[in-house]
Amino acid sequence: MTDTAAPAQKSGIRMTGAFHRLLAFSGLIALVVVFSVASPNFMQTQNILAILQATAVNGVLAIAVTLVIITGGIDLSVGTLMTFCAVIAGVFLTYWGLPMPIGILGAILAGAASGLISGTVVAKLKVPPFIATLGMMLILKGLSLVISGTRPIYFNDTPGFNQIALGSVVGQIIPAVPVPNGVMILFLVALLTAFILGKTALGRYTFALGSNEEAVRLSGVNVDRWKIGVYALSGAIVGVGGVLIASRLNSAQPALGQGYELEAIAAVVIGGTSLSGGRGTVLGTLIGALIISVLANGLRILSVAQEWQTVVTGTIIILAVYADILRRRKL
């Protein structure tokens, strides 16, 4: 069926990809249709942009977690790491007055460094990822408060910083579709990550590790090094998320972030990535993140009482994953 597809894609984006992706999209489309019918306000350009904007941060975090989950791990620290990276950007730019690119780089490197530590704890000390990243989640949460002096750091002295997420380069070119930069960054991160997963050795080992780590080790591959690499890359992506949220709020909020990890993981799994590792796609994760955003937005647009929003979201998460399972079984 997919004999015509480039062989290179087959493992990363899987053979059954084309069809599966279509069906995964269908869940998203179903939601969109339901909400469009239910409320005339849903299908406005403004609202679509609002949904995309709302997806940016969670989408980036979810992509970061996707990498770790494909190796068969999990990352509970993405939420607080995001905040930590935002705080680092704040310290660099506002406290130390460094130029903007350095602040951004600092945040991304801080993310990578934290990923490096998590990865090392997982790979070298053999601490299960769940625990290693749970510990990191707490550590980073505390450190964000310590470093920021338990108060938000504002980026008022760095003009243009909030354009990173809120400005619209696209809008300057095509005024009709002012897609915010934050959303474009999400897509860029997605493309880059998909490329790494599909075309590079790091990507290959990401899948291999999740598939059968012992076999990779027996094949003479330096499993630890690659695993640490995946966590570091994932951390760097979280760093991008940190920059995005800081830019969006024009401040680094040290108390924010906990709880974001579960939403990110939910997006990943709704997107068809297996929690047992070895399989997953960036596109799926994007769709998963969109499903969550559309759901939240739609329920709010419909003014569903908040307590019921939670109930509906929980139900849809289960149903979405169940639908994905049914789909796979049929294939």
Partner: protein, 289 residues
Amino acid sequence: QDQVDIALISKGFQHQFWQAVKAGADQAAADLGVSVTFEGPESESQVDRQMDMLAAALSREPDAIGFAALDSQAALPLLQQANDAGIPIIAFDSGVDSDIPLATATTDNVAAAALAADVMAEKIGGEGKVAVVGHDQTSRTGIDRVEGFVNRMKEAYPNIEVVSIQYGGGDQLQSTEITKSILLANPDLDGIFGSNEGSAIGVANGKQELGSDVVVIGFDSGAAQKGMIESGVMAGAITQNPVGIGYQTVQAAVAALNGEDLPKVIDTGFYYYDATNMDDPEIAAVLYD
């Protein structure tokens, strides 16, 4: 001889409001030469965590305790225990339904939110649609402020309709997204009230992102909110006096230890502030960054 040791158990920790209370307490500690610890659970729903904190504080045998009860009933057994041990207790932020606290340094949240409603009504001309982005659906402050606002609207302004009440947990990002949804679902909305600092900033962010001209009334202060009021994104906000709450709590504790008589209620007050009065010394004193 050791310093006088006062344990403050608050309702929260990371949020700016509580950090301002802590700053006031620390200031008083420095002024009065006592030592103060400050601790609070992660969210205002974690009543049992606050109990554990109070229990640990009691084990430390402090000279006095300041306590902002998340749930006044739940705390009673431990407060009784403290009372039995002869440790004076000062309540702050919200009262405790009990005689044990020697004094309570507090703000009337219901009245404060009602003031927000009055200002809102005035700004939108006494009629139209408004919405509320609350910070917590179940905590005392969360309920008081939302109800204070909504009830005042119902009673005093029959032509104003509260079309939507949603909760963002005080999380700026979530409050931003909620605000955008509310605005998109109600294009003819006239005003939004954000019930604490995070909610208010989120509301203002959402307004800015959509380029809406809805009237925003906030609550509490902080550098961001002050900046938004200066720039006109936010019309104004209600502030309590958190620094004062912290300061007076410690002051009252020291007074109690010195055997002085205390008033049962220390009203720390609340104020409406906007671009016009922000720099008044009286107002500037209660605003915090």
